[in-house]
């Protein structure tokens, strides 16, 4: 008979909540990449300086999102990670709005 093992503070959560949250950030980043590529493709056929500017804007949105996700993934490495900082949540929202406004401007 083995002794009953009591959980300690540093133990991993058996439900793998931080891991699942990390993967949720990963797949959201992936979705963001696809959308940014579509956004870049939108201006591909026009060419010229404005197209280059628009394509770099789409790339910038993706890079900002990638950075936000990476930072959060590092935070989630702790045994008991804290609440998502509201600044990060708002930055994600700003990225989405930038993509949508960009899309509306180009489609129009």
């Amino acid at each position: 008979m083995s002794a009953v093992r009591h959980p300690v503070e540093t133990d991993r959560d058996p439900g793998l909540q931080p891991e699942r949250t990390r993967l949720a950030w990963r797949r959201t980043t992936l979705s963001c990449a696809v959308t940014a590529v579509l956004a870049g493709r939108q201006v591909l056929h026009t060419g010229g300086a404005s197209a280059a500017l628009a394509a770099s804007l789409a790339a910038l949105v993706f890079l900002v999102f990638l950075w936000l996700a990476h930072r959060r993934i590092l935070q989630l490495d702790a045994p008991r990670p804290g609440l998502l900082p509201a600044a990060s949540a708002l930055a994600v929202v700003v990225c989405m709005l930038a993509l949508a406004v960009f899309g509306a401007a180009v489609v129009w």
Binding site: G15, T21, T28, C32, T35, L83, A86, V92, M96, G103
Partner: protein
Amino acid sequence: MSVFDQLGAGRDAVRLWFTPSRVQGEGETPDYRFSLANERTFLAWIRTALALIGGGFAVDQFLTDHLTHWARVTLALALLAGGVACTLRAVNHWVRCERAMRRGADLPVSRFPAVLALLVAVIAVAMVAVVLVGWAG
């Protein structure tokens, strides 16, 4: 609930987005796993928003043979607007759930999923009609 109460609640909600420390000031900190689940729900809504925005781009880029210019623009703008609505709803719902968990209150309910489902269904039916008309003609 009167219109003014609703407006006041809306103003409070927007204020909470920008001063989330107010959320942490009240009630008790919930189990971190519940907060992480709330965060994943937020991310799922963000992916929904991304899909709608990407769909808007796709409509404009890939339906050039099927739709007139204005039908394409309208459909793309509707999808982009849906994406914006999803994004704002995501952050609003996240803050409200976090606050409800701290207070030990019921989680907020909303009709947003139903409205979104109807919008997507309408767009899907419109697309089927477009394809059938294009196939017949």
